[in-house]
Structure formats: structure tokens, C-alpha cells
């Protein structure tokens, strides 16, 4: 009896917080290897290379908590990256970046219109939107990488402030803003309510359409922000980076503990989930695992984690 309750408690922790045990296993495991994992340089580099995905995940978390999801972020990421470089030939840098972000907000607005106002299925509409935007990015760049000639632009993504990479600082600022938004504002609390039960939220007087719509707009905006930062980091805009990003980020958010069922999760959880993916990449590189095995391992982890998420849902249904 005692043993079953203990094991079910362990199972509960595992299903609620999948990323943390995963991270701890990797951290402990790396203690026993002779690699440069535990150097400040590597740890900072790991944060730096996960930063784009982390920023993307913050916006996506909002849509998933509201009971949707956003697969168009890959498309927004590449188009805004290309736009922020391309527009610099006709206007100064900051207005160009501003336009790129406005573009993301507009796409998010359209997504929100279709998903929330017209009540279509979020995942398939945003998948189509992502496909469309990938085509736009290919057309804009003629499917070639588009280099930037502005050194100031490159410094945004590659510069340091007090020894810390700019990208890490921007990620931390975004993290604080989004965590505050979700925890301490009416908007954030309403999103949880909408994801928990749409109809109940509506009858309790929440403006469900406007709130959920806003989640998609914010997700589009953050994706555009991440897109310009990625372009700046690589100093090129290209149509290929968005290919799998959308699915990986959405999976990462679920790995963190935000459930597709909606209403559960949060920004810190998503950060942990994406960090787990970033750390997995770093650890695999440190251990010199060849890239094909890396793909295999990553795919297996995604399946395992989503499997656990669904299984927990099933247990919950059976309990009720």
C-alpha cells in the first residue's frame, strides 16, 4: 500500500515536472565524464545558444496555456529575420527591426482571428500559416542566405554587456516580463481560466475572445523578436532555420510541464523545458555523439515526453 502511494507520488512528480529530473540526470551524469561541460564558458555558451528557443517558447506558452498552440512561429521567425535585414537597405536599423516585429504582431493577429474568432483548430491553421510564411521567406531571399552588411546589427546578437552575452540578458528580461505577466496580471490569470475551461471562463465574465486573441498576437510578436535576434546572431537571414523550430519549441513547452489540455503550466516551466533541450544538445556535443544519433535521441525524447503527457491526461480522466 505504502509502496503504491509512493510510486504514484513519484509518477505525479514525473508527469508534472518532466524537465527537472531530466536536467538533474544530465548534470549528475556529466560529473563523471572528463569533458569541458562544467566550465563557465560552456555553461554561458549553452545559455546563449538556447536563448532564441527560450524567447520563442515564452510566447508559445501563452497560446498553449489558453488551450491552443502556435506552429506558425517557425515561419514568423524566418520572415522577420529576413525582413529586419532586407529593410535596412531602405531605412535605418531600428525602424527596420520595428517593422519586422510589427509584421510578427500582424501575423499573430491573423492567427488569433482565425483560431479564436472563427474557432478553427489552432494547430492546423498555424501549421498552414507557417508553410505560407516559409514560402514568403524563400521568395524574399531567393532561397539563399542573405548577409547583413551592418556591423551594429551584428553586435546586438553577438555583443557582451559586463561579460554576459546580450542574448542571455534579453532572454532574462523577457523571462521576467512574461513570468510577471502570467502570474501577477489579470490577463495572465484569465488565460489560465480560459485554458482550464473555455465555457466556464466565458460565463464568469471574462472576455474570452479578446484575451485568447491577445495570446496569439503576443506569440507572433515574440517570434518576430526572436527572428531578428537570430538574424543578428548569425548575421544572415535565411529561410531554412524555421523548418523544425516550431515543432521543437512546442514540444519543449510541453516537456516543461505546460499541458496541451490547457490551463496548466507557466513560463518558468517552459524555460526549464527548453533548457533541457538546449542542455541535451550541449551534452551530446560534449560526448562527441554523431549527429545522426543526436537526431535519433532527440526524436525518442520527444516521443517519450509527449507520451508521458498524454498518459497523465488519461490517468486523470480515469480518476474522474
Amino acid at each position: 500500500m505504502d509502496r503504491t502511494t509512493r510510486s504514484s507520488a513519484l509518477f505525479g512528480i514525473l508527469t508534472r515536472q518532466k524537465a527537472l529530473p531530466f536536467i538533474i540526470i544530465m548534470l549528475v551524469g556529466m560529473l563523471f565524464t572528463k569533458t569541458g561541460f562544467y566550465t563557465p564558458y560552456n555553461l554561458l555558451d549553452m545559455l546563449n545558444s538556447s536563448s532564441i528557443l527560450l524567447i520563442l517558447s515564452f510566447g508559445v506558452t501563452l497560446t498553449i496555456i489558453a488551450g491552443g498552440c502556435d506552429l506558425s512561429i517557425g515561419g514568423i521567425l524566418v520572415v522577420s529575420g529576413v525582413l529586419s535585414i532586407k529593410l535596412q537597405s531602405v531605412m535605418p536599423m531600428w525602424p527596420a527591426i520595428f517593422c519586422a516585429i510589427v509584421f510578427g504582431v500582424v501575423v499573430g493577429f491573423v492567427n488569433g482571428f482565425l483560431v479564436v474568432h472563427q474557432r478553427t483548430e489552432a494547430f492546423i491553421i498555424t501549421l498552414g500559416m507557417g508553410l505560407l510564411l516559409t514560402g514568403v521567406a524563400q521568395q524574399l531571399t531567393d532561397a539563399h542566405p542573405l548577409p547583413s552588411s551592418n556591423p551594429d546589427f551584428m553586435m546586438i546578437g553577438n555583443g557582451y554587456l559586463l561579460g554576459v552575452p546580450n542574448l542571455v540578458i534579453i532572454t532574462i528580461v523577457c523571462f521576467i516580463i512574461f513570468a510577471w505577466l502570467m502570474r501577477y496580471t489579470q490577463f495572465g490569470r484569465n488565460l489560465y481560466a480560459i485554458g482550464g475551461d473555455y465555457e466556464v471562463a466565458r460565463y464568469s465574465g471574462i472576455n474570452v475572445i479578446r484575451t485568447k486573441w491577445l495570446a496569439f498576437v503576443i506569440s507572433g510578436g515574440t517570434a518576430a523578436l526572436a527572428g531578428f535576434l537570430l538574424s543578428s546572431k548569425l548575421n544572415t537571414g535565411s529561410a531554412i532555420y524555421g523548418d523544425l523550430t516550431a515543432l521543437v519549441v512546442n514540444c519543449g513547452v510541453v516537456v516543461g510541464g505546460t499541458s496541451f489540455a490547457g490551463g496548466i503550466g507557466g513560463i518558468p516551466q517552459s524555460a526549464l523545458g527548453l533548457l533541457a533541450f538546449g542542455m541535451l544538445d550541449n551534452v551530446m556535443n560534449m560526448l562527441n555523439i554523431t549527429s545522426y544519433y543526436q537526431i535519433l535521441l532527440k526524436g525518442t525524447v520527444i516521443v517519450a515526453i509527449i507520451w508521458l503527457d498524454c498518459f497523465a491526461q488519461k490517468r486523470k480522466r480515469e480518476l474522474v
Binding site: C69, L114, Q118, R119, T120, E121, A122, F123, I124, I125, L127, G128, M129, G130, L131, L132, L133, T134, G135, V136, Q138, Q139, D142, A143, L247, N250, C251, V254, F260, Y292, Y293, I295, L296, K298, G299, T300, I302, V303, I306, W307, L308, D309, C310, F311, Q313, K314, R317
Partner: protein, 326 residues
């Protein structure tokens, strides 16, 4: 005409447009292309269009069942990668016909594995299945990469006159290509399965309402296994047709097949909500997509803008489908 009659006629016209807007739009495009570019109506172009009834339609036919059953399958890209490289490497070892059979069986096995993973987790929604099969797709692609060491494989060294794959890829019976005949064969088979068997009807009921279907005594678990197995099998067939045509198999050969297949199914009018649809509609959908890209090619529209057009049509078709339901 009285005003009431007028509004009635307008309403039914609007209803007609809403139901067939996509077909109307593409018909307009076809007429425009025929006017601007008379080559469109030439015999050569018609043969070209027929030749394109190749890999995509096979995959889309399989995908139809998954969508009718209320699920979705992103893993076809991975299955195509894996089946293509495994089959092409087995030609030397086993001979052509056994390699063909192993290839199709491997596709079906991958599909069955998907259904096992989904069933064991208790996933019930399309979104859960989407992410799960995406993960499976990554796994299959990784196996394809490991198996082929990332290199492209050829089958040049087979005796061409006796080659089954050469026949599948480039052979003709009269003016009709062999791949078109293969397509007709599978279409007939799957249509009979869908319309005239108990299992075909069970799939439809499962897609319509899983709980109701289960309470009515339908074995929904078996239906789910069947739809994914068919989808995997057809993806395997698609992979074989694909590499037979291009005579090489790279482990990334299946990229984008999943979105194009879903696009064809949805454009054909099978609803993503499940429970409704048919393989015949998918054929219309694929025909529309092929006609569209043929027209856009003749009009000189870049392939990148064609991706944009496809994405826009996907979004638009789902929106229309949703309006019809409401």
C-alpha cells in the same frame, strides 16, 4: 422577381459559392491559364499532369483514412525516408520483388508502431497525435540516416530491361504510365475497403465521435491500428514510386510530404474533424493541387510563391470547412 425571391436566390448562390469556392477559384485559374498559355491544353501537358499522379497521391490516399478516423499523421515523411533507403539497398541483397515486399511491409510496420505508441499513451486528440507522430517521424528519419550513413543511394547497376522499379518509375502501357495504373489499383482497393466493409464504416464512426462509437460496440482501438497501418503502408508505396521515378534514394527524400498530403486531403473536402470524407474526394484534392502548380508553372510563377499559394489554400480550405460545420 420579388425582393424575397431575390434574397433567397442570393443566399443560395452564396451557399453554393461557400461550398465550392475552392473548386471555382481553381477552375478560374485553369481557364485563365488556358487563355494566356494555350500550351496548357496540349496532349503533352495532359500526359505531364497524369504523370504527377505519383507518390503524393499514394501518401494522400493513406492519410485520408487517418483524417477520417479523427487523427493526423506527420510521420509519413520519416516513413518515406526509411522505406526508400532500406528498399533500395535490399535490391542487391534479396532481389527486386522481395525488396518491394519488404519495403511495403516496413511501411506498414512503421504505421502500426505509430498506432501502438498512440494507443498505449491514451492520446485522444488530433493535437496529441500530431506531436507524437512528429517525434516518430524524427526517429524514422534518424534510422534512415544511420542506415544509409547519410549518403544518396542509386540503383543504376540493375539490368534495365528486366527491372521492376524501372517499370514503376518510367514504364508505360500505351499512353498510360504504370504509376497511374498503380494509383488506380490502390484507389479501387481502398475505395472498396472504405465503402463496403465493416471496418471501413467503423473508421468513419470512430472519427465522428470516439465515445459514442465505443459505447456502440465498435472496437475503436482496432480502427486506430488499421488507419495508421494503412497510412504507413501507403507511405511505403509512395516511397517506392518516388525513388523508382528519380532512380535515387536520399534519406531526406520524404521532406514536406506530410504537409502536402494533409493539404490534398483537406482541399478535397475531407473534414479535419473526422467522420466524413472519402478517398475519391482526396483524388479531387490532389488533382486540384496538381492543376494549380501546373498552371502556376506555365504562368512562370516562382516555386517559392507556389509554397505561399499552397499555405494560403491550406489555411483558406480549413477556414471554409469550419464555416460549413458552423
Amino acid at each position: 422577381m420579388s425582393p424575397a425571391e431575390k434574397t433567397g436566390a442570393l443566399k443560395s448562390a452564396a451557399g453554393f459559392l461557400r461550398s465550392y469556392l475552392l473548386i471555382v477559384l481553381i477552375a478560374v485559374l485553369v481557364v485563365l491559364t488556358a487563355i494566356v498559355e494555350p500550351k496548357f491544353l496540349s496532349g503533352q501537358n495532359m500526359i505531364n499532369i497524369m504523370r504527377q499522379f505519383g507518390p503524393l497521391i499514394m501518401v494522400a490516399l493513406g492519410m485520408t483514412f487517418v483524417i477520417i478516423g479523427g487523427f493526423i499523421d506527420l510521420s509519413v515523411a520519416g516513413i518515406i525516408n526509411l522505406v526508400a533507403v532500406v528498399t533500395i539497398s535490399l535490391i542487391q541483397v534479396l532481389g527486386q520483388v522481395p525488396a518491394l515486399i519488404v519495403g511495403m511491409a516496413l511501411g506498414a510496420a512503421c504505421g502500426a508502431l505509430n498506432s501502438v505508441v498512440i494507443l498505449s499513451s491514451g492520446a485522444l486528440t488530433q493535437a496529441e497525435a500530431l506531436f507524437m507522430t512528429f517525434g516518430m517521424s524524427t526517429v524514422y528519419s534518424a534510422f534512415a540516416l544511420l542506415y544509409s550513413h547519410g549518403s544518396t543511394m542509386h540503383f543504376w547497376d540493375i539490368d534495365k530491361s528486366k527491372s521492376v522499379f524501372e517499370a514503376i518509375g518510367a514504364g508505360k502501357v500505351g499512353p498510360v504510365s504504370v504509376s497511374f495504373l498503380i494509383f488506380l489499383f490502390f484507389l479501387a482497393l481502398l475505395w472498396i475497403f472504405q465503402a463496403n466493409t465493416t471496418e471501413g464504416r467503423s473508421i468513419r464512426l470512430t472519427g465522428g465521435n470516439k465515445t459514442a462509437a465505443e459505447l456502440a460496440g465498435i472496437r475503436i482501438r482496432r480502427s486506430i491500428v488499421v488507419i495508421y497501418t494503412i497510412c504507413g503502408f501507403m507511405a511505403g508505396v509512395g516511397a517506392i514510386v518516388l525513388f523508382s521515378r528519380i532512380t535515387t534514394a536520399a534519406p531526406v527524400i520524404g521532406a514536406n510530404f506530410e504537409t502536402n498530403a494533409i493539404l490534398s486531403v483537406v482541399v478535397g473536402g475531407t473534414t479535419l474533424k473526422g467522420g466524413k470524407g472519402s478517398v475519391l474526394r482526396t483524388v479531387t484534392g490532389v488533382l486540384l493541387i496538381i492543376l494549380m502548380s501546373n498552371c502556376l508553372n506555365l504562368l512562370g510563377v516562382s516555386s517559392y510563391l507556389q509554397v505561399v499559394a499552397k499555405g494560403a489554400i491550406l489555411v483558406f480550405a480549413i477556414w471554409l470547412d469550419n464555416r460549413k460545420q458552423a
